[in-house]
């Protein structure tokens, strides 16, 4: 479209703009009203948690706290920070999040690339092979025995190795790669690149939104997991993770007793250890790091920043 047609098309579009603008204006209103509504509805629970975490624990029992603490105190946080395992836990959590995410991105994107190739002989059966894993599981005991036989109990590797390949993430990335023109790969092949180079140099850089999204899922998954720590490394203090340490503090309030005598005994012994406010403080401590890291990933998938358009 050159400038030669500009006057006619411009005036044409201006007319169209006028008639369409009512539709667009209504849309505009809907957009902004709903965004405000969404903000209020979704910000509330978080502010509520924050407020309770900053509220005195005896006062919290009275309920009725909304977004502002009634009796401000930092004691809940103080209490949590007296637990010594937190520092080691934090270090290990960061380590496993970084390593797990990187490994997961590598394996996921590689497999997604391979499976996006229609000409790949193994495409159908490998896709099936992977998809099935999302719906089957052997159970906890065989899983544990396997880890034991592979000498993964009491190691750091158990956090990042078993879960290396995630079918879900692979399919997500693949659906993005499917949207890229095949011509790119063709021309690279003509330039003499092999498939690995195509993957690494051509396709991967173009998958940034997908990679950012999957990175987010992987990171959050790693950051929040504690059950594997409990099962495999529960007795090893040097391998503890942040979530596990916090879960130990948290769990005392969720007694599931099978009879009332059991319950009363347990409740008496565990009185006051983990009141509501402390639970909320734990939630905040776990979420804040994610919130801090998030904007760095966000720019990759929220349009509005300059993101390279795909060159034809």
């Amino acid at each position: 479209m050159g400038t030669a047609n500009s006057t006619t098309s411009a005036s044409r579009s201006k007319n169209k703009l006028h008639t369409k603008s009512i539709q667009d204006r209504i849309l505009e209103v809907i957009v902004y009203v709903s965004m405000i509504l969404v903000t209020v509805l979704t910000l509330y629970p978080f502010l509520n948690v924050l407020a309770i975490s900053l509220n005195d624990s005896v006062d919290t029992v009275r309920g009725g706290i909304t977004i502002w603490p009634r009796e401000f105190t930092l004691k809940n946080y103080d209490l949590i920070f007296t637990y010594k395992g937190l520092i080691t836990g934090f270090q290990n959590s960061v380590l496993r999040t970084v390593i797990g995410t990187v490994l997961g991105l590598l394996s996921g994107s590689m497999l997604a690339f391979v499976l996006a190739r229609n000409d790949f002989g193994g495409r159908r059966w490998i896709s099936m092979f992977l998809a099935i894993t999302m719906y089957v599981s052997g159970g906890m005991i065989p899983g544990f025995i396997l880890m034991k036989d592979l000498h993964l109990i009491n190691t750091f590797a158990v956090y990042v190795l078993p879960g290396l390949v995630s079918a879900f993430n692979i399919f997500v990335i693949r659906s993005f790669i499917d949207g890229l023109p095949y011509a790119l790969q063709e021309s690279a092949k003509l330039d003499g690149a092999n498939d690995f180079v195509i993957y690494w140099r051509v396709i991967l850089p173009l998958c940034k939104p997908a990679l950012a999204t999957v990175a987010l899922f992987l990171a959050v998954g790693q950051w929040n997991s504690w059950f594997d720590t409990y099962l495999f490394n529960g007795s090893n203090e040097t391998l503890t993770t942040l979530q596990y340490e916090l879960m130990k503090i948290l769990q005392s309030t969720t007694t599931s007793a099978t009879n009332s005598q059991d319950a009363s005994n347990m409740a008496e012994r565990m009185a006051q250890v983990s009141p509501e406010s402390v639970k909320m403080a734990i939630t905040i401590i776990v979420t804040i790091p994610i919130l801090i890291v998030y904007p760095f990933l966000q720019k990759y998938f929220v349009k509005g920043m300059t993101l390279g358009a795909v060159k034809s």
Binding site: V61, M140, W200, G234, T258, S260, M266, M270
Partner: protein, 564 residues
């Protein structure tokens, strides 16, 4: 490959290698890590035992607390402990299934899994030869620690239940706010009709509180497992002791699923009536525990029928706000004067839950000696009172806790427990409970009657005085009013998980937890119809078979405990 690619491959490989290196830490080390203990005179080498417990212990400090250090010194044993997080059954099953046995295990009800695996030792001889304190404390109650009629080994040192105790607090029964009984002139509160009347009269005069919010006659906490607290009221108000979900005839030892007793039907009919006349909180079966506690804390609930450890948080908030006349007193309410409140019909010693020594333990003799020390008088005083001079003083033979230390324990309980270690070892020692005195004439524990009175608020004292009682317990029938049960308490019988009575029991529980709320919240004219449907469904799903099997278990236990 081009050089750029080589770099990438190299970095990926190195990343994997780093992971592997970090991953290959030592297999679980069982030697003590740098414990520099002075060699205690008896030539005990310091040793570390691994320990897994199904109970939680949030303030565990790896025995670096003051009490722990003394224990280490005296026994030469350090514990490397792990506690269950969330559901303990899964973790214990893994331990049983995969042969990863810690030296000491506290398996509570799941000890059967370990027995199956051959993971734990029979402790009979060890106790006989190396544990004099435990032996003496148990006396002939040792019979209660035997596993079953077919397998009379002792698989766990019974550290959970108190060997002997005199309960000093009446924590259960029905509760009424002090202001409610005061306004009514302190009438006798003995039957559900008395209870209802006094609530009714207060509520009609004060339908709302000072903020305009509705007062509630009575509320219940039935959130998830708290439902037991409601269903237990069935036998509590009709003279039945707490035998779990059963009522056991004391002469024939026949077990009945207690809801099938006609007397209990009448209790739930009364609850239904309370709902019909608007005295019962309509949210009783719907609210979550923290909603319930918030209501208690708001002071609007006039009456409860809940153990104090459940509503205690809410009551503390009231105390903090100085609303003492809105706190609660305990009353032995039953359906009629012919039934006695059974809160103090003691179960006696439950020898079931405790610590087992695994078959892979390096030094079982040292392990049993360690447990024996904890069970000794010295060990119990150490755990309950702390260290003389530091936590308590002895003046004229009388032991008393230092007030400043008590302050600290009250205000900063978690930090205090981590530092001092008081109360951290309670479930590792065979112990006496409240109200029992040691050889010095002082109490073993720090809960004793004289201490209670100090904590009563003025409102509480006023109410007690009006009822001519010194403690709430005085209003209740005491232990002496009841004959001990030949089988202890039914719920302490641990059965294997695939025992038919357990599976049927789960089914019955589901049926009960569905029908009781429905029956209570329905219209009075529908109550009988719903209750009949409830009974019919129980029968259809095998309640009689369950009762029969359970009766057999009770009889087996009586046989086991009477044999020598």
């Amino acid at each position: 490959m081009k050089s750029g690619n080589k770099k990438i491959v190299a970095s990926v490989l190195s990343l994997v290698m780093i992971t592997a290196l970090v991953g290959c830490s030592n297999p679980f080390a069982t030697d003590s890590s740098g414990d520099h203990l002075p060699d205690s005179g008896d030539g005990k080498q310091p040793i570390t035992f691994t320990y897994f417990s199904e109970d939680s212990s949030t303030n565990w400090n790896n025995m670096n607390d003051e009490v722990g250090k003394v224990i280490k010194e005296k026994t030469g044993v350090t514990l490397s402990a792990e506690f269950a997080v969330g559901d303990p059954v899964q973790k214990l099953s893994l331990i049983a299934a995969t042969g990863n046995y810690p030296d000491l295990i506290a398996a509570k009800a799941d000890v059967g899994k370990l027995v199956d695996a051959g993971a734990i030792l029979d402790l009979t001889d060890l106790i006989n030869e190396h544990a004099p304190n435990i032996k003496k404390m148990l006396g002939d109650k040792i019979v209660r620690t035997k596993y079953s009629l077919d397998d009379q080994a002792i698989y766990a040192v019974p550290t959970w239940s108190a060997v002997d105790e005199k309960k000093i607090r009446a924590d259960a029964g029905f509760e009424l706010q002090h202001r409610v009984v005061k306004e009514a002139g302190y009438p006798e509160i003995r039957t559900v009709q008395d209870y209802e009347k006094v609530i009714q009269s207060y509520l009609s005069k004060h339908p709302v509180d000072e903020n305009g919010n509705k007062n509630i006659g009575m509320s219940l906490n039935a959130d998830d497992w708290h439902m037991y607290q409601v269903t237990n009221l069935g036998f509590q108000t009709t003279g039945g002791p707490d035998d779990g979900e059963y009522y056991i005839d004391q002469k024939t030892h026949q077990a009945t699923y207690h809801f099938r007793r006609p007397e209990e039907k009448e209790f739930f009919r009364w609850l239904n009536h309370m709902n019909a006349i608007g005295l019962l909180d309509p949210e009783s079966f719907v609210q979550k525990t923290d909603q319930f506690k918030a209501k208690v804390a708001s002071g609007r609930i006039l009456g409860l029928a809940d153990p104090e450890w459940d509503y205690g948080d809410g009551q503390n908030a009231l105390r903090a706000a100085s609303k003492f006349d809105q706190t609660y007193g305990h009353y032995p309410v039953t359906m009629s004067k012919e039934y006695k409140d059974t809160s103090f019909w003691l179960a006696g010693f439950d020898g079931g839950y405790g610590i087992s020594i695994s078959s892979t333990c390096k030094d079982p003799v040292l392990a049993i000696k360690f447990l024996d020390f904890l069970a000794s008088e010295e060990g119990q005083v150490l755990n309950n009172w702390g260290i003389e001079g530091k936590h308590y003083t002895v003046k004229n033979g009388k032991r008393s806790f230092i007030p400043e230390v008590q302050e600290r324990a009250n205000n900063d309980s978690a930090a205090f427990q981590k530092e001092a270690g008081l109360g951290l070892y309670w479930n590792m020692m065979v112990h006496y409970g409240d109200g029992i005195k040691d050889s010095t004439g002082n109490y073993f524990t720090r809960n004793y009657p004289e201490l209670l009175s100090l904590n009563y608020s003025n409102a509480e004292k006023e109410t007690l005085k009006a009822y001519k009682a010194k403690h709430w317990k005085d209003l209740f029938p005491t232990e002496e009013d009841f004959q001990p049960r030949a089988y202890g308490a039914a719920y302490t019988i641990s059965l294997p998980n695939d025992d038919p009575s357990m599976i049927l029991g789960a089914k019955m529980k589901d049926i009960t937890w569905k029908y009781i709320p429905e029956a209570v919240m329905s219209k009075p004219e529908d109550f009988d119809r719903i209750w009949d449907a409830y009974m019919a469904e129980l029968e259809k799903d095998g309640v009689q078979e369950m009762e029969k099997i359970y009766t057999q278990h009770i009889q087996d236990r009586i046989k086991l405990w009477s044999a020598q």
